[in-house]
């Protein structure tokens, strides 16, 4: 009896020890929702006949700070406070000389910054980059003739970064060792002088692969005293590109993937949307330059680029009125900030694409000495171009009810610049 009882006890306990579910291993609390700080990284060049101004546009009140980093240290820092409007900070206030990295701590997510480089006969204008991406594309530059093409790798953060550049030219994939393992020290920037590394290249498609750390890249093209600055962009499959009236040369489509990529170029012209205005193939890790001069008319137009794999899209203009380069936009939005728009003097224009299927009203607000508001209608699938509405403005906003994509164009007679806007994403 005792034997049986003991045996039953042993078996019952063993079965219980086997059958009871194992307690789940302790897990940490769920990860926090990522809420990255509102910062923007800007290329800054001070000296050499050009001066940079950092412009900040904001629809919200708050404080911020503009800092310049060079050689592993902060070269200067200027705090600012803004309401709904714009402020500007000359780079000379940051005590920085040379090509440096600017970091703008914005008052909040409803704010944006831009760099404006102005020389005697040159204007370079581009929005600052809000978030660094591990892979970006840069195309539109070349190293033929007297052109100087530089890639500005900016790392304002405290950790060192490393970058690999994959460059494809008309000669194929370039193998220069200077393009690999580029160390970008913390709080510093590195200039990759492409015309020294790869001179005489007509077509350069650059994939910027950040293997460690955080780096933001911008292109700088100098030609006969003119300058163009434009951002490297994160690849996407759907791009919008407003084109101002007159004089556009080429649209560059580049890819960082290892296969050829099919693309289609749709035209938003005066008559509405023309699908498959052009189509073709982007070679693996390379780029194509699409001559769109035939589409450029006296009126502004826009292109939409759709591709089978992620690409980057850039717009280049070169003529007697100077050199301009900018990147397209992968998003449409009803609210846009155009920091720095109107600051360079000359004549300014806003080009607004309504990529939606319904007509939209676009309210254009200029922030400057006085705020002027203008609200023209933009028909669905068309592009509208406005002349500047206020002298001495330092930023514009475009707000509307549709799927809008704006661009700011500065023309001084000897120089031209294109600058895309910064979308304010609705919550």
């Amino acid at each position: 009896m005792t034997k049986a009882l003991f045996a039953v006890i042993v078996v019952a306990l063993a079965v219980a020890a086997l059958m009871l579910p194992v307690l789940p291993a302790p897990e940490p609390a769920p990860g926090a929702a990522v809420d990255l700080p509102a910062v923007a990284v800007c290329p800054v060049e001070e000296g050499g006949g050009r001066a940079t101004t950092i412009a900040v546009a904001s629809t919200q009140s708050g404080t911020g700070r503009v800092s310049a980093f060079v050689g592993g240290a902060m070269a200067g820092s200027v705090p600012f406070e803004t309401g709904s409007g714009a402020i500007t900070v000359p780079a000379s206030d940051l005590a920085a000389v040379g090509v440096v990295t600017g970091l703008v701590e914005l008052p909040g997510p409803e704010a944006a910054a831009a760099s404006l480089m102005v020389g005697t006969d040159s204007v370079g204008h581009e929005s600052c980059v809000r978030s660094a991406e591990p892979l970006t594309l840069l195309s539109g530059g070349d190293t033929t003739g007297d052109r100087e093409f530089e890639i500005h790798l900016m790392n304002p953060y405290s950790g060192e970064a490393t970058v690999d550049l994959t460059v494809r030219s008309e000669s194929g994939i370039e193998s220069a060792s200077q393009l690999r393992g580029i160390a970008v020290p913390s709080r510093s920037s590195v200039i990759v002088d492409m015309d020294e590394v790869l001179p005489g290249r007509e077509s350069l498609a650059v994939a910027i692969d950040v293997t460690s750390g955080s780096v933001t890249a911008a292109g700088r093209l100098l030609s006969s005293g003119g300058i163009a600055i434009w951002n490297a962009v994160s690849p996407g499959q759907d791009w919008f590109l407003p084109i101002p009236s007159g004089g556009v040369d080429r649209v560059y489509i580049s890819t960082g993937v290892g296969d050829d990529v099919e693309y289609q170029l749709d035209l938003y012209g005066p008559e509405g949307l023309v699908e498959a205005f052009d189509q073709g193939m982007v070679p693996a890790r390379g780029s194509v330059a699409v001559d769109v001069a035939a589409a450029a008319t006296a009126e502004a137009v826009a292109f939409r680029v759709v591709s089978t794999q992620p690409v980057g899209v850039f717009l280049r203009h070169e003529g007697e009125d100077g050199l301009a380069l900018t990147s397209g936009s992968t998003v449409t939005a009803s609210r846009w900030l155009l920091p720095g728009a109107g600051m360079a003097g000359g004549s300014g224009r806003i080009v607004v694409l309504n990529a939606g299927l319904e007509d939209a009203t676009a309210t254009i607000t200029a922030y400057g000495r006085e705020t002027v508001v203008k609200g023209p209608p933009v028909r669905a699938g068309t592009v509208l171009e406005f002349a500047s509405i206020s002298d001495g403005a330092s930023a514009y906003t475009v707000t509307g009810e549709g799927l809008l994509v704006p661009m700011w164009v500065t023309t001084t007679g000897t120089a031209t610049s294109y600058a895309g806007g910064v979308p304010l994403i609705d919550e």
């Binding site: 005792t2 034997k3 003991f6 045996a7 006890i9 042993v10 078996v11 306990l13 063993a14 219980a16 020890a17 086997l18 009871l20 579910p21 194992v22 307690l23 789940p24 291993a25 302790p26 897990e27 940490p28 609390a29 769920p30 990860g31 926090a32 929702a33 990522v34 809420d35 990255l36 700080p37 910062v39 970091l103 701590e105 660094a132 304002p156 953060y157 405290s158 950790g159 060192e160 913390s186 750390g213 955080s214």
Partner: protein, 916 residues
Amino acid sequence: MTSASAPHVAEEPTTASSLDAPHVKVIVTLVEGADLGAALATVDRQVYGAIREVVVIGEANGELPSGVTRTATLEEAIASTGPEVEYLWILHSDARPRPDALSALVSEVERNEASLGGSKLLLAGTRDELESIGSATDVFGDPYSGLDEGEIDLQQYDVVREVAFVSSVSMLVRRDLAQGLRGLDDRMEPVAAGLDFSQRVRLAGGQVISVPSSEVYHQARCGERGRGWREQAGRLRAILKAYRLITLLWVVPFGLVVSVIDSLANLLLLRWRPAARHLASWLWNLWHLPSTIAERRRFRPVRAIGDEELFRFQARGSVTLREVGSEITDRILSVFDDDQALARGTKRLWSSPGIWGAALAGVAVIVGAWSIFFSGVPNTGFSFPFEPPSVGADRFFAGWNDSGLGSPDAVHPAVGVTSLVSFLWFGLEGAARTVATILFAVLAVIGMGRLAGRLGFRGPGRYLSGLVLLAGPGTALLVGSGSWMALGAAALLPWTVRSVFLHPTDRTRSWLTHAGLVLLWALILTAMSPVLGLVPLAVAVVWRLLGGSRSSVVLGLVSLVAGVVAAAFINDDRGWLLELDRRLGITASEWWPIAIAVAALPISLIEARTRRLGVLGAVLALGGLIALRIPFGGPGVEEAAALLASFGAAIVVAAALDDLSAEPRRLIAALGAVVILALSAGSLVNGRLGLPDGDDNDELGFASTLAGEGGPGRVLMISVDRSLLPGESRSGPGFWYRTVDGAGTTIDEVWMPESRSGDEALDSAVNRIASGAELRPGSLLAPFAIDWVVIVGAESPLQEILVSQLDLVPTPLLTGSEVYGNPAARPLASGDDGLLWARRGAGFGGAAGPGLMSILVNASDGWRPDPGSEDWHLTVSAADGSATFTGGGYLSYAPYAAAALFLAALALIGVGRARR
């Protein structure tokens, strides 16, 4: 040659009694160098009247006396014997039997209805020195006579008794049985032949007895008294012929192991011959394997009973190993033991099978701790170095708990034990920790052996079970995660449990001694693992419920008094006892309950004593494993459950290996125990008693080396894998984190005290950093004196976020971890005018000055002088140049009460012994 007279044969009967007496045929086997004539003369002088025939085996020189015939082989001689002969007296020609030797043999064999009887052999030419009185063997066939070297015959063994075998020098065997068994194996030397024949007689159902009244002087020319390699080979052949296959399955491998160990041990003693003999023996048997198999087949029809009948007459363990072990011990002891008193004791010692288990366990402990001997105890997981004794004692006696951001809560009571150990080891904390760790391993093995002994076990499993306690189902997991305290608690548990079991026979110990011992062990055990302090009472109660009688529930209740040592800690940190989320999350493999059940279930079906002990072990082991799966209790309960599982499994092993035999239930239980042992031994092979490898303090040494003027602050450690962080950690958003002292972690930091306002502020800061919203995380961490942030192990989302920040400086100081320096960090203790203090003992100190010192620990009123707070942290007056903490509340006196109890326990033991 002595002249041979004609032997007295049965054809010439002289008395009536000889007519009734059984007829005997004398078979004299030739031994080289022996005087056959003299042998025949002694046969002739036998007073036994019914000798039917005398036969000499083999080719002898010279003429044989009349009436003596010759036969070529023994088998032939046996086969040719007629049915009128009832017994065969097989006699060596170097034997000189007394005249009444045969008569005594026949008389006792008849009286005892035995089938085989052997004479008492005395060495010829000596003063009655005993050679053999019949022998036992071990399971490997090695003879064990029980006689001392040169032991004189004083009739001290003159009792007719059953023995494992008798020598073939002089044996009387029933004719019919001898014919059935076909006599002695002619490939064997005399002793082996006797063993072989005796075993076969027994397995055929016969009785083998030693007849001391039949005295035979033996010239011992027939071999080196059983020590030649042929004898050894013959004995191996004898067991190969006799045992069933299932027995051979374990005897042969064990036999090989014994041969190897004996060879190595003898080589240590600078003797090569035993190794050669073993080798020759195994080779010889390999060579003769076909004939051995043929012999087994021939014997099969005659076999009547199983191997158990042989086991009845066998000594436990290995006779060979016992002898060599005894010799080694003798040699060692002879250095200190001139009169050999101890050495004589070792002979008895090595005859205990438990001692061989202890020796094996000892070897396993040495192997299991080899790395600790050379490299010290690892500093990783939950294994941190001791603090200096005065600092540890200060913390134990209601001092400041410096874990995390600090707390007035009581430290884990093990800090008190470690400070005492450091103090006793002359304040050398590192050496004390190493010694204590090795001592734990030794204590665990000896403790289990002693406990098992008190519970009635004597087999080899009682000490081997200590290995299961050290590395069994729960201990392996706890110790594998670095829990040094668990190792200590495991080692102390059997001693504490033993103290609530009364000795079965020794009644000299007073109750004062018992109570003192219980209290002493329970205080140390409870300090190392507070919940485990309940186990002695639980074991006493379960034992009673199972029908046991020697456990004392009263003593178990006395052990609960020791809970005072942990009262303050448990009261201050109830989460340690109750919060499931704080568990380590250890999960025992599903093989453990299976192995434990396999070992325990057969035990539950055997005789009462072992059954009760086996079931006690199973209840504790399986109960512990079940408790690990029940969603109740915090890390304290988890620790106790895991250790209880190992403790129970150890008792099961001790029970299962207590009596090794081929009885199926015991065999299955033993197999289960071997599996448990094998599973346990696996975690010991790392050479650190299962503790993980690594030295976190060494890795974080940069925090001290690169510290600024204010001395090392804190290191914030982060990982998605909690086991990679030292000690207990807190849950963060998607990872675990904790702060450690930049000067190096110490044992008081193993557990994190309950969260206070500073901890909540740090938690908010960590959450904000993890969200990516903070561009300057260094500034956010600066008020916590966090000099460094270390992200350990696999990629965490935080690494990606910290790529884009401005003030934590990535510094490549560690491989496999990301280290960020925080130049913005504030000093741990700073005041006006740049006044800086550093840690001093369990408090802080430095130059005196005006104003206040900001000390970045959680604010508490227990600090002096002039405690205050700023946000969450402490401020004190800088006037005294030091800040000290004294805990408050009635439980702050509990450690003092525990110390008083400790002294009282020592006093009770002393008084109890004095009264005895």
